[in-house]
């Protein structure tokens, strides 16, 4: 099992519903977020292109955050989901420094927090909150090792990229182009 996500940059309208859904579902403290939408504008008018990306933890297969954690609080769960065990985290910040995606933040309660792929929903057979609320249905969550999943299907038929693969992290969020 290998959980992953594909996000269609051509369908995304940048409404930030995924951000709000995540904050509500996961009780994210005010002023913080586990996912965010980036708008990348390339070129000068009239020759401009725009890319909208809903970004979050990439649940990397080769996670620098898991590697550098001195207490083992950052760890892999089933399907390669990277989680932080709050009671093991000492808040040293090493994982925040190690993440090329700036996906982690220091929770006001002290521990480090980030996207969990809504593991509590996934274990019940549901999609993560961000995926389930997306009004354009531009996000696909699933198991990369399941050949019949919608995720594998869409990755088979579309061109896609991941963010900073040269960092060697093997990110598991794929952006459809």
């Amino acid at each position: 099992m290998r959980y992953a996500m594909a996000i269609d940059t051509r369908k995304c309208v940048g409404c930030s519903d995924c951000v709000v859904a995540c904050q509500t579902e996961n009780d994210v403290p005010n002023g913080f977020c586990r996912d965010w939408v980036k708008e990348v504008v390339d070129g000068t008018y009239p020759n401009v292109s725009i890319e909208l990306r809903s970004e979050r933890c990439n649940h990397c297969a080769n996670s620098p955050c898991v590697r550098c954690c001195p207490t083992g609080a950052s760890h892999f769960e089933e399907g390669g989901i990277v989680l932080v065990e709050h009671n093991k985290c000492i808040g040293c910040g090493a994982c925040i420094e190690s993440c090329p995606y700036e996906a982690r933040y220091s929770h006001p309660d002290g521990y480090v927090d980030k996207c969990t792929f809504c593991i509590h929903r996934v274990r019940q057979g549901n999609d993560p909150a961000c995926v389930s609320v997306c009004p354009t249905r531009c996000m696909y969550f699933g198991d990369l090792e399941d050949p019949n999943s919608k995720l594998v299907n869409v990755l088979k038929n579309r061109k896609f990229k991941s963010l900073a693969p040269e960092a060697g992290t093997q990110p598991q969020i794929f952006y459809l182009l």
Partner: protein, 313 residues
């Protein structure tokens, strides 16, 4: 032209201020750790060479600074933690992959060694010092008899501690400025140089100061070479690394780095030390204090600048 905006409610120009997680505590700790490593390295080496009497400030007096520096450094590390009450979990886990993990263990070994080492010289340095309890006196005489035996692990751990202050940063692939293997040796050499500066401040013996001054001069030359090497390596690297090093070569860190670290912290004290060796009367405290300040500012700038640098995507 490429412009990145945050369309959602995350008010961050590329890096969220909350993600710039390491502040003054970390560079201060790196400075104190490197300084203690330098002092203990010289104390151990001259003990092994059998020069305790000629180099009495190096072997006996300066190491008194080390335990205080290490304890203060550990306290600063504790201050840096955001989940403070859980700190003890550092010592219930062994994670060799995590530089911070094994660094915490190295400190756990080095701090007691530095305490035992300096304590064993208290009776000799302070007239009328009395350990009061018999077991302490027995332990003291054992340490005094086995100083060379203790000096060996002390020298080895001092090198590991000094290198570790650099590896702590260089292990982060996500920060292109830090992610270079020269950072470990560079921090080690800089730490030894600050250690030598403390010895210069403490020592009253002209011959000893001459020897340490010469060593320090060599360390400064090596450090300048390593800094050049760091910049050259990054300049020849990927775009992320070029952007990172440009912070120091024209970017916002250029002026403080060259003024306070290269000129005031390395070149100027080197010139003063050469003049001193040539027989001019230079108050030795001046180059020593400049080296200490330069070493501190160096770590501060590297930690601050490193956190701005990032992968481009």
């Amino acid at each position: 032209m490429k412009e990145e905006l945050f369309a959602s409610g995350r008010n961050i120009p590329n890096i969220d201020p909350t993600l710039n997680i390491w502040h003054w505590q970390i560079p201060s700790y790196l400075f104190l750790g490197g300084l203690a490593a330098g002092i203990l390295f010289f104390a151990g080496v001259f003990t092994i060479m059998g020069k305790e009497e000629q180099m009495s400030a190096t072997v006996k007096k300066a190491p008194l600074v080390a335990p205080f520096a290490l304890i203060l450094g550990l306290f600063l590390l504790f201050l840096d933690l955001k989940h403070k009450l859980w700190f003890w979990q550092l010592y219930t886990t062994i994670r060799l992959e995590s530089p911070m993990g094994w660094g915490a263990w190295v400190l756990m070994i080095m701090t007691p060694i530095s305490m035992v080492w300096s304590a064993s010289y208290l009776t000799e340095l302070i007239p009328g010092w009395d350990w009061k309890f018999k077991f302490l006196k027995t332990f003291e005489s054992w340490v005094i008899r086995n100083r060379v035996l203790i000096a060996w692990p002390m020298v080895i751990y001092a090198v590991i501690l000094g290198i570790y202050t650099g590896i702590l940063l260089s292990a982060f692939n996500a920060r292109p400025l830090w992610n270079t293997s020269i950072l470990g040796p560079l921090f080690l050499v800089s730490g030894m140089s600050t250690g030598a500066a403390v010895i210069l401040l403490v020592s009253k013996n002209h011959e000893e100061r001459k020897i340490i001054g010469r060593i320090d001069l060599l360390l400064i030359v090596v450090e300048l070479f390593f800094i050049t090497h760091l910049f050259m390596g990054d300049k020849a690297g990927s775009e992320a690394q070029i952007n990172a090093v440009n912070l120091f070569l024209g970017g916002s860190f250029t002026a403080p780095f060259f003024a306070f670290v290269v000129i005031l912290g390395l070149l100027f004290p080197a010139i003063l030390e050469i003049m001193e060796l040539r027989g001019f009367k230079v108050p030795i405290a001046v180059p020593a204090i400049l080296i200490l300040l330069g070493g501190f500012i160096f770590r501060f700038l590297i930690v601050e600048a490193g956190q701005i640098t990032r992968y481009l995507y």
